[in-house]
Symmetry: none
């Protein structure tokens, strides 16, 4: 049970993003996902343990790619400030360009029990760690003040970006999200100095 590879694995995952984004996690039935994926209901259970497992796998997949790509982006940066800007840009751009993913990440993902949040927090933590590394680097480079609490800085940074995106999703994506890149960066970087 829970075969995690194969062609249908991806097909189901993609059907799930679409369906969750359209219908919402709790209103989505396994049959909806199966239908969207063009497979039988039972087939879903060959690849996933249950509905929550789909949502978590979804997020883990997205997040792994997200962090991997972001790491590559950061290799091109010279210092913490550049890296912070790149993080903000990449985070905003990625979700601006993938509305279904944005909907699932910002809204649907929060609709599951605390217990199961463990499945979410692990891949999320690697992102958190990335941010914290940049903050540390900034402190070493003398760009950010020495007595800055790295943990709290990370929470403020992530909370700010996250809230900005959530507001955008809730607004029905009514404005240009990427345009918020600069003012958010400016606000955060000054706060860190």
């Amino acid at each position: 049970m829970a075969k995690r590879t194969g062609e249908k694995y991806q097909v189901i995952l993609e059907a799930a993003v679409k369906t969750f984004a359209r219908t919402g996690f709790h209103r989505t039935r396994i049959a909806d996902i199966a239908g969207e994926a063009g497979v039988a209901d039972g087939t879903v259970y060959i690849y996933f343990k249950n509905k929550e497992d789909i949502l978590i796998s979804l997020f883990q997949n997205l997040m792994n790619t997200f962090v991997e790509e972001l790491k590559n982006e950061l290799l091109q940066c010279q210092n913490a400030n550049e890296k912070l800007e790149r993080i903000i840009t990449y985070h905003l751009t990625t979700l601006a360009n993938r509305p279904d993913q944005a909907k699932v990440t910002q809204i649907e993902l929060r609709q599951i029990d605390q217990v199961i949040n463990k499945g979410i927090s692990k891949p999320l933590k690697s992102y958190f760690y990335l941010i914290e590394e940049v903050v540390e680097e900034g402190k070493k480079q003398g760009l950010y003040r020495h007595n800055l609490d790295t943990r709290i800085a990370r929470k403020v940074i992530f909370g700010a970006i996250d809230e900005v995106i959530t507001c955008w999703v809730m607004s029905g994506k009514a404005y240009d999200l990427i345009a918020l890149r600069n003012p958010v960066f400016e606000l955060l970087v000054k706060g860190l100095q």
Copy 2:
């Protein structure tokens, strides 16, 4: 249906906070709330339309009190900086002192459909507006830079506080939340200058 006053209305609301915090919104059955409140299942439906109505009413009640009290707090402040500090302090302190409310606000409340979020966004907006007023005031007082985008500033401020509290709740409230008041304030206020 949906009688919004009376002794039992409050009793059920209080039972709901407790039960949602303990069991989680989706795992909570109406029977659980009724049992906790010491009333019959049917009685719940005299006062509330359904389970979601309870959650929304809950939040509206909490939020109204929250904003009302916060407004009073702000009357005692001399300038925007003092007000911003008061907001952060009040927000952190309130949720630190009411663990059930914190759990419901930070976790359970996000577990309902986007559609129903309307019931949540209205009272939330009055809090957002309060923050934006303070930012505006700070700009007028020359404390914050003139080209600061008030909307974005508000999102960063709220997002930061919200994330800090969510992390604390997810950690099982393992540390002193109120202690984060100063570093968060410092970070934000510098960002606004």
Copy 3:
């Protein structure tokens, strides 16, 4: 319990005819009847045992008046044929003039359990008996054949009238019911001869 007199008894009964006719027996809630009657829910139970009791009492009231008035009508008739015509005319006219009563009698009344039909069959039987008396009289007067089975004749007569009215009610009362008086009479009287 089940006080069968008083001003409110009549008020509730009238409210019930209206409500049953409008909403249908099973979809009608006691609260609807109480509301229509302008009394409290509980008051209904001072005068009636339960919802079925209301429907039965309703029918008994209507039927008693119906039979009483019909008896008077028949006093003015010279022979069985005249009486039969009067029965048909009176039956059709009465229900044509009282749409709510027609709806309740032809449709709603049939929506209760066989067991409770006892409450209905008693007043109905006095109508049946009236018809049978007329058939017998016709036989004695040499108007109807001697070997006519009175019971069966009554069933055919009542069945014919009843079906004619039911069709009219189901059609949404789209045509003149009373106009069917003559052809129905003709058909039946010839059958009896």
Copy 4:
């Protein structure tokens, strides 16, 4: 939803006739039908929309067979009188031989909302049409008077047969229903002449 074929479809339908006849439509729970059919509660919903859908499907099935068979019977008849007799005989015989069907047709079927009667009236109309055809034929053959209103004649014929059967069912089937064939036929045919 509402798969209208398959082995279980028939099994559930047969269980429903039995259960409705025994317990009455409104007192019958889906669980009772499922139990009688030897399937799970949920299985019923694979084949039927809801309880009313079962009752209607039931009647449509019975009525289709009824009309089909009756049409075949009528092929063997020479004239309208023979056909009328065959109709009466067939109608009485069929229900006399299938007590459950009789109970459901005469009693339970009348216990549903007017709105839903639409599902009933369609198959019923094909029976009505059959009767009217015979009346027309009789008029053409000079057996029945020319000025006879076909519609009304049909109502009287159907009403008579229907009432005769209903009385028999209500009596607890205490006498020989088929024996009423001749007197009913005689009464009706004379009425038509």
